[in-house]
């Protein structure tokens, strides 16, 4: 381990804002995209069920 403490790790030598914004944004985008695709799938299946069970 090259980090003395959690505080050091979070500070990233003073660049914490930049580093964690980058990794945070990446995590947010990846998770967000997964959720968006999952929601799209659910919606598509729901619409198909609605159409096949009598239509609008």
């Amino acid at each position: 381990m090259q980090w003395g403490s959690l505080t050091e790790f979070l500070a990233m030598g003073g660049y914490g804002l930049y580093v964690w914004t980058s990794f945070g944004a990446t995590a947010l985008c990846l998770v967000g995209e997964v959720l968006a695709v999952w929601r799209r799938h659910v919606a598509a299946l729901a619409q198909t069920r609605a159409v096949s069970s009598g239509g609008d």
Partner: protein, 256 residues
């Protein structure tokens, strides 16, 4: 390998196959990204010149690579679709686009995050960043073009043409901006990774790239399944539609 791949080219067969493959790719993505992050934060040493800020490259470079790789892949499927008149190929182009756009956006954002502490500027007009920005515009244009066309066949083919035109444009842009930078000597800063990188740094970057790649495959397959379900509602598929002939075709513009 005696698998008959063509039997999977029909959406009905591809749907369950994709469903089975997704967990494997998702697992691989998580594993690789976990290893990559560990290597990046706990094994790779501090950079002499850039301090800890350089660690952003462990997401910036993989994102940039994925953005370009996915665009080329998208264009390949587009070309296949136009050449073979194969609808599944067009569906792949449709499924890849949002993920590619996301990685392009991330590449630009993390690039700015890296540039500010390292070179003092949120943005520089060097060839790589400018090409990446134009690439984002092309992704967005592609997605919006498809969304603007209601007729599925026209949407497929028009976005395929645009994807191909765009893939030719990117190296031209790169060259022209490089040229432009040599002309206006002011902008000589380029946000490239430092030439000498410790092996651990390169390894972590490559592992993260592989992780992003596995992630992209998983998400693209999942989105393909959405596209298949959405398109199956339209009678133009030839599959028996639950809707009566003559009834209004449901518009499927889809989300992300």
């Amino acid at each position: 390998m005696g698998i008959n791949w063509f039997k999977y080219s029909s959406p009905q067969a591809f749907y369950p196959l994709a469903g089975k493959m997704i967990p494997w790719f998702a697992g691989a993505a998580l594993g690789l990204m976990g290893v990559g992050l560990y290597l990046g934060f706990f094994v790779a040493p501090t950079d002499f010149q850039q301090g800890e800020a350089y660690r952003i490259i462990f997401v910036h470079v993989p994102a940039a690579w994925m953005s370009m790789f996915l665009y080329v892949l998208m264009a390949l499927w587009a070309g296949l679709g136009l050449g073979l008149n194969a609808r599944p190929s067009f569906m792949m182009t449709q499924a890849i686009a949002p993920t590619g756009a996301m990685f392009t956006f991330l590449a630009l954002l993390t690039g700015a995050m890296w540039g500010k502490p390292t070179w003092g500027a949120w943005w520089v007009w060097d060839a790589r960043l400018t090409s990446e920005l134009i690439l984002l515009f092309q992704y967005i244009g592609l997605i919006l073009l498809r969304a603007s066309i209601d007729d599925l066949r026209r949407a497929d083919r028009a976005s395929a043409v645009f994807a191909l035109v765009g893939v030719v444009n990117v190296p031209i842009i790169y060259f022209s901006v490089k040229w432009w930078n040599t002309l206006h000597q002011g902008a000589s800063v380029s946000m490239t990774a430092s030439p000498k990188m410790a092996t651990t740094m390169v390894t972590a970057m490559l592992v993260m790239t592989l992780g992003f790649w596995m992630y992209s495959i998983a998400v693209t397959l999942a989105r393909m399944r959405c596209v298949i379900v959405e398109r199956a509602r339209q009678p133009s598929w030839g599959t028996p539609a639950p809707v009566q002939d003559g009834a209004e075709v449901r518009e499927c513009s889809g989300g992300v």
